[in-house]
């Protein structure tokens, strides 16, 4: 069967053509058949449209992408190198701090021991002071709470009494409180 005598392409073969996987015989027919060529163009049109429109959409979205995002990408890309420099800088700084301290340690062990002895005392004083402060605060809070509750009880009693004086007892009092 030659290209001229072969039947027109089936839907399946049009799909094959779109996928670039058309058998040689069908491809031969397609090359010489204007009807099938037209059918293939029509089949390809929505796909080409989708491709063009989505690329236009994507290019526009990329163009309006905040510059900071690209900067961040570049920043992240060189981030590891920067982190390495950062680590080195921290190490140097630590060395600069540690070196005089070490020399000081070597020269004045007695001085350091007195400092060491003074430190727990200062710390314990601070702890005691803060414990006292906490006790004091707690006591003050307790007093405030007691005072408030006594006020509340008396005001409730007064309120009940006033309502009771006005009319019909508990029912009205409950309504007002609600």
């Amino acid at each position: 069967m030659t290209g001229a005598t072969m039947n027109h392409l089936t839907d399946e073969q049009i799909d094959d053509a779109l996928l670039g996987d058309l058998a040689a015989e069908a491809a031969g027919h397609l090359a010489s058949c204007a009807v099938c060529q037209q059918q293939l163009i029509a089949a390809r049109m929505p796909l080409e449209s989708f491709k063009a429109v989505t690329l236009a959409w994507s290019e526009r979205r990329s163009a309006t992408m905040p510059a900071s995002l690209q900067e961040r990408m570049l920043h992240n890309a060189s981030g590891s190198r920067r982190r390495a420099w950062g680590t080195a800088a921290v190490a140097v700084l630590a060395l600069m701090v540690a070196l005089p301290f070490g020399m000081h340690h070597a020269n004045g062990v007695r001085e350091q021991s007195s400092t060491q002895a003074a430190a727990p005392i200062a710390q314990s004083l601070q702890t005691e002071a803060s414990a006292e402060q906490i006790d004091s605060d707690n006591q003050m809070l307790h007093e405030i709470e007691t005072e408030l509750s006594s006020n509340r009880t008396s005001s409730e009693a007064m309120e009940l009494q006033e309502i009771g004086d006005q009319g019909d007892g508990h029912g009205s009092a409950r309504m007002v409180r609600d």
């Binding site: 799909d15 929505p46 796909l47 449209s49 429109v53 994507s58 526009r60 992408m65 995002l69």
Partner: protein, 193 residues
């Protein structure tokens, strides 16, 4: 012998060229970002997550540029990385996919107005927009694999063998997914394809 040597030399030159292309992350992003963003966006249906994945993709490509052998185009290589990142995200279920993302569907309606005016009369532009929307809608009905291979073939214009390599699927499986995807798109797009 001479031919083989020339082929090897060309391959080495190609790898060197693309290698230097990968060294400039700024140029890399500028050149490939729109296409990659499009692929990721229409693969997952979430614009914000697509931007994040696209960014990760460029970083991964830049950091792993030494592994690029130059046996495929840079775009194909980037798409393969994107496919893996999308798959990782799907495994982690970090974001919603097409069905859940319908509420924040990607609006490409305005995009047709940015098509080159020389190619499109106003009538053609409307037709192009309509067809594009039909295809976009039809993507909703595809499975993840069908959508991925469909986009690779018809948007990224990758060869079937490249798709098979990028997705780690046998060639026949790729063909099967593509046929099903095409059939579904054709049905959804009102038999106009």
């Amino acid at each position: 012998m001479q031919l083989a040597l020339e082929a090897t030399m060309q391959s080495v030159q190609g790898a060197e060229r693309t290698g230097s292309e990968l060294d400039d992350i700024d140029a890399l992003v500028r050149t490939y970002r729109p296409r990659l963003l499009r692929f990721v966006t229409f693969s997952i249906g979430d614009q914000d997550m697509a931007e994040s994945i696209t960014q990760d993709c460029f970083l991964k490509a830049y950091n792993g540029r030494a592994n690029f052998r130059g046996d495929c185009s840079v775009n194909t290589w980037l798409t393969s990385i994107a496919v893996n990142l999308i798959r990782d995200q799907q495994r982690l279920q970090k974001f919603r996919f097409w069905r859940q993302a319908r509420a924040t569907a990607i609006d490409i309606t305005d995009a047709a107005s940015f098509l080159p005016s020389a190619e499109c009369s106003p009538e053609n532009r409307m037709l192009v927009q309509e067809k594009a929307q039909q295809v976009q809608t039809s993507l909703l009905a595809l499975s993840e694999k069908q959508r991925t291979v469909f986009l690779m073939r018809f948007i990224e214009e990758m060869e079937l063998s490249e798709i098979a390599a990028a997705t780690n699927m046998p060639l026949n499986t790729v063909k099967t997914h593509l046929h099903r995807a095409l059939k579904s798109v054709r049905a959804q797009a009102g038999k106009t394809i």
